[in-house]
Amino acid sequence: MRNKIEIEDLKVHYGDIPALNGISLNVVENEILGIIGPAQSGKTTLLKVINRTLELTQGVTIEGSVRLDGIDVNSIGDVYGLRKRIGMVLPLPVGLPLSIYDNVAFAPRTSGLRNKAELDVIVERCLQQAALWDEVKDRLDSLGTKLSGGQQQRLTIARALSHQPEILCLDEFSIAVDPITTMRIEEVLKSLKNEMTILLVTNLVQQAKRLANRTAFMLNGDLVEIDDTEVIFSDNPTQQSTYDYINGNFG
């Protein structure tokens, strides 16, 4: 399997405050990489560096390299094209101020797709993948922002899937979703693994254990350990702090 993402000596500072202290890791194509760690460990920052949305935050300095399919993302001139290749689900649900249909159709339309029949198919597929179709199929013209928190989060997932990204970054996607729906989405993610590479940032260590092929443990901006999920969740991970975090001894 080839590496989809190669991160080398990545350092990020918010002003003078370090967020990532020179981490290096590879993400293999079509794997689910779980990223766990306590708050302020740099997990979200890592995802934002990959799709270059961190550039939208002022006062950030980024050093090191992030290569996507061997090409440094910072050398890619068409940043919007890059972002279309990477789906992103943020921790809190963000319904765009559009109808449910338009929320999902937003990305394909941005890419130039105007055919209504094709858009209908995409909207239905994505809403089904996000386990939302049955709840909203009769009111697709309603505002997305009027949905409940959990439904909005699933709408966000549907939107992220709508442009068929090569990489899907999920940042605490289940924080506002009930456990049953979470399980349904997890099943979808397992099936999506064949089509895309998935980076799963989660505070629910058991979720990483259920889904991830490999798991990375981050702490205070450092990559403490990355290994197969079975190894990380065994009684003998390489680092003691990994064991302590997973077993609730801190964090």
């Binding site: 809190l92 101020p97 442009h163």
Partner: protein, 244 residues
């Protein structure tokens, strides 16, 4: 920001604007020595002249509002907080917007009522611009800033361009609050116009009873519009997201 730049921002640019206004006023004046003599010789009614000139300011008002909104979007969306142009423009907008309307009102009365012939349309246009642009720009900037950053990030995350994010999300979400600011500005401008007409009655003499009735009627309509725009403005600003 060092002290020199600070001093420049606080003092120099407003002074430059005022100097420019005065310069243009003097440059574009109609060469008449005594306005009272001209009134009599040209048989011009001062009140009508004031009203005509105020009507001519409506297009200026519209253009100034559009320009203000464009400035707000350019400053907020395209210029970073460290950008030199933004660091120069923003303090000027804040300083000029904090000047009470009555100051502009007095300026307008001076040119429009007491020197209606010798003053030019350009000078009046500058007064309208000074009255409208800072407040409208500031309120539009606030409206744009109030849009949750996560909405922008969510749109950018699916590959939307800056223009698309602005047109599809930022503008629709901030529109009502921007309109509230525009209504507030129009209200202020109409109040200044009413003041100018009122003063022109007091200055003009003799004046017929019928003319007074007509003018009071005009002022009444203007003040009603001022009230209406103020109410609409406060409603829109308190409920910026009624559409969503």
């Amino acid at each position: 920001m060092d002290k020199t730049k600070l001093l420049f921002n606080i003092i120099a640019v407003p002074i430059l604007i005022i100097v420019l206004t005065v310069y243009l006023t003097l440059t574009f004046t109609v060469p008449t020595v005594n306005s009272e003599v001209s009134f009599e010789s040209m048989n011009i009614n001062r009140i009508n002249l004031v009203k005509v000139r105020l009507m001519w300011m409506i297009p200026v008002l519209c253009v100034a509002i559009i320009v203000s909104v464009v400035i707000a979007f350019v400053v907020e969306e395209w210029l970073s907080t460290n950008n030199l142009i933004r660091r120069i423009i923003e303090p000027q907008i804040i300083i000029l917007s904090s000047i009470p309307s009555i100051v502009y009102g007095i300026l307008a009365i001076y040119y429009l009522v007491f020197n209606p012939i010798s003053s030019s349309y350009v000078s009046l246009a500058f007064i309208v611009i000074l009255l409208v642009v800072p407040i409208t720009t500031l309120s539009a900037q606030n409206a744009i800033r109030n849009i949750d950053i996560s909405i922008r990030h969510a749109a950018y995350a699916v590959g939307a361009t800056k223009t698309k994010v602005i047109l599809d999300h930022v503008l629709p979400l901030s529109l009502l609050e921007i309109l509230g600011g525009i209504c507030h500005t129009i209200s202020r401008t109409l109040a200044v116009a009413a003041l100018c007409i009122l003063v022109s009655i007091l200055v003009e003499s003799p004046i017929s009873g019928q003319t007074i009735v007509n003018i009071v009627h005009n002022i009444g309509i203007l003040l009603l519009l001022v009230l209406l725009f103020s109410i609409v403005s406060s409603f829109l600003r308190k409920n910026p997201n009624v559409m969503y």
